[in-house]
Amino acid sequence: MERRFVISPSPHVKDGDSIQKIMYAVVIALIPAGIGGIYFFGLHALWVIAVAIAASLGAEALFSKMMKRPIQLQDGSAIITGLLLAYNVPAEVPLWLPAIGAVAGIGIGKMAFGGLGYNPMNPALIGRAFLMASWAVHMTVFRTAPKGGTLSGIDAITNATPLNVFKGAREILTNSVNYSAEQVTEATQAITQLYNSSGNLFWGRVGGCLGETSAILLLLGAVFLMYKRIIGWKIPFAYIGTVAILTWAFGGTNGLFSGNPIFHILSGGLILGAFFMATDMTTTPVTFKGRLYFGIGCGIFTFVIRLWGGYPEGVSYSILLMNLATPLLDRYTKPKVFGG
């Protein structure tokens, strides 16, 4: 019989990258920050990470089965969700908390929409928002001081994270008539010390969520992902740049342009959020301008929440809000066709 050959659409050669390779590269990029978390906050952090990953994988397998869809654990995306969720909770939380968060994130945030590629919002952030709504105290009270440092990163205050201290002190300084002279002096000193503590913030010797505190370890991973062209510069730079400009211009206590952008860039979850969550492919725009606007939008929301919102930190909600705007951003930033 005449030999028959394979028929398939062109192109007949393909780039070697795959979803799986991309996802595992992100996992690798997140590892240094996880090791940092374990080092600074103790071995319990390792269990938090392990439980979050296990619960993510388990939830994905379970929901896939219930929905009669192929189980695709090997693509690595559930591991990322687990890791990010663990990095976004305090290191000392009871282990059931990350487990529930992971199940909620995968279930509500991902599988309910049809799985990888169809979710409009970042599943890890959905999980985190779920935990915030249900167990706010567990999520917002930080007790573990990092190894070799204090919770706030400064010596004078030991019971709050840097952004908490900042928010409290700024509240006093911007409404000084309502506070005693002593309180005002203390607040002034606290802010000055915070602004001088960037070394601690950079290395991660401050309190905060498990994987968000060490800027250097997160940046290590980010540089790797940028080198591998898995994340671009547009979203993180637009995001961080916007926060920097706004906090410098309006975030100070002595009128315009008295803020300290370095403090704001390094504290809280901005680095983790900007490089690892605001860059989640599925939930962010695909166009050049769309990605810029996405980053700028995240920056504006983060700034507003940090200075005037009910929480000291606003990275997660900012990204979730902008995730919702992604389809619109794509639609209105369609590039001009070549020659059009």
Binding site: F5, V6, I7, H12, V13, S18, I19, K334, F338, G339
Partner: protein, 441 residues
């Protein structure tokens, strides 16, 4: 003058040209049988003028065309017409083909010599000779050449660009033609410039062919108005609009042809065919085909008669390995997979690619993860991910809004997609379905 010799977007597949780029063009032995489909070009089919049982000479016309956008086909060997029937065609489906059995003589219908004063012919005569010789674009698309050389009166053509880019991985036919037939290329180019009444011509070559660049630069040194342009190695540098952008920095308006901005693009192989058609009235009966790929024993550049079955070219290259899975007409990015190796070489067959199981292995399609790589590489600045999804969900008007018809089907988006989405396939399908809908109303 500052000139950016590239375009924006694009990608870098492995070029894989090393297998055959140093191999001189080899003349294939005379085939015993040729299968000549009466339509090998874009446009109207030509009308058959021969009958079964008739004897034909090499170069004799088998069909004639009364339509303008059409060219005839010719016998590529001498012999007897054994059958006129439907045969598998490399561009899909079966098509009416003339099957000629060789008489072993290989005798020409006339002796084709360069006429001494061919350059003085009048332009109309030149175009007629090109049409009669059946010349159609040899870069792959096979558009009748005389049509491209007859722009409407109101278009002010001022530049010819000869396409020697050959940006498809694996293929080296044009590269070899530039090395081995540079004088004919330039003669053909002069003819085209005369026909179009222009004095500026560029030869665009990718920087990965330094020997061809050096040779042609040396040749055009003596010529006025012809310049070799070195282009960045990037796929699809040889696509018309991208080539024009890179060589002249002009943008062809979306939905328009290059002539809109005064440019005509012809492939280097076509220039040789045009020279032979005008100077010798020699019909297009053979072409250079790169036979290559991961599963061919000995990759080669062959001068093959039109109508020679793929199987014979493959045999001429030591045959294919046992792990062969796929045979492609053309290059790996835009070529078409073949069900059988019985299909014949046609005017647009720039290469035959024989690929192994691993290369041909169809990876399963995954959902789009919106990584935006396809958007970043699309040379037409489209949103391939969104267009493909709209087609998938039958939202054709949306796909149309996003410029589905501006897609040139270069395949760059599918190549880069980590989810292995068949983006171009959806886009081609969408175009076909939209056209059908249009016809229906």
């Amino acid at each position: 003058m500052f000139r950016k010799n590239s375009f924006s977007g694009g990608t870098h597949p492995h070029d894989e040209k090393q297998w055959s780029s140093a191999k001189a063009i080899e003349i294939m032995p005379l085939p015993e049988t040729v299968i000549i489909p009466i339509q090998q070009h874009i446009g109207a089919p030509s009308d058959l003028i021969v009958e079964k049982g008739q004897t034909v000479k090499k170069g004799q016309a088998l069909s004639s065309s009364s339509k303008f956008v059409s060219v005839p086909v010719h016998a590529s060997i001498s012999g007897t017409i054994k059958a006129i029937e439907q045969r598998p065609h490399p561009l899909g489906a079966n098509l009416l083909s003339v099957v000629i059995e060789s008489d072993g003589e290989d005798s020409w219908i006339s002796d084709f010599k360069e006429e001494p004063d061919y350059f003085e012919l009048d332009v109309q005569q030149m175009k007629q000779r090109i049409a009669d010789a059946g010349v159609a674009g040899m870069g792959g698309a096979a558009f009748p050449s005389h049509v491209k050389l007859s722009p409407p009166e109101d278009k002010n053509i001022d530049t010819l660009i000869l396409n020697g880019v050959e940006c498809e991985p694996f293929l080296t036919a044009d590269h070899r033609i530039m090395l081995e037939r540079p004088d004919e290329i330039i003669k053909g180019m002069r003819l085209i410039m005369k026909i179009l009444k222009i004095d500026t011509g560029y030869i665009g070559i990718e920087a990965n062919k330094p020997d061809a660049i050096a040779l042609l630069k040396e040749k055009v040194n003596k010529e006025t108005g012809i310049e070799v342009v070195v282009l960045e190695v990037k796929y699809p540098q040889g696509a018309e609009k991208q080539l024009i952008k890179a060589s002249t920095n002009r943008d062809v308006p979306a939905g328009k042809l290059p002539m809109e901005i005064g440019c005509v693009v012809q492939n280097v192989g076509t220039a040789v065919a045009i020279y032979e058609a005008v100077a010798m009235q020699k019909p297009l009966i053979e072409r250079v085909v790169t036979v290559t790929g991961t599963s061919i024993h000995e990759p080669k550049n062959l001068l093959a008669r039109i109508g020679t079955p793929f199987s014979e070219l493959i045999a001429c290259c030591g045959g294919m390995k046992d792990n062969t899975a796929k045979i492609v007409n053309g290059g790996p990015m835009m070529g078409m997979a073949q069900l059988t190796d019985a299909v014949p070489v046609i005017k647009g067959t720039s290469g035959i690619l024989v690929l192994d199981e691993k290369t041909a292995n169809m990876q399963e399609e995954n959902p789009c993860i919106a990584c935006a790589r396809c958007v970043d590489v699309c040379p037409m600045k489209l949103l391939p991910n969104h267009i493909a999804s709209y087609v998938e969900y039958n939202k054709f008007d949306k796909a149309n809004e996003l410029g589905i018809f501006d897609c040139m089907e270069c395949g760059t988006c599918s190549f880069i997609c980590p989810a292995k989405r068949h983006l171009v396939h959806y886009i081609k399908l969408g175009k076909a379905l939209i056209n059908e809908q249009k016809k229906a109303v």
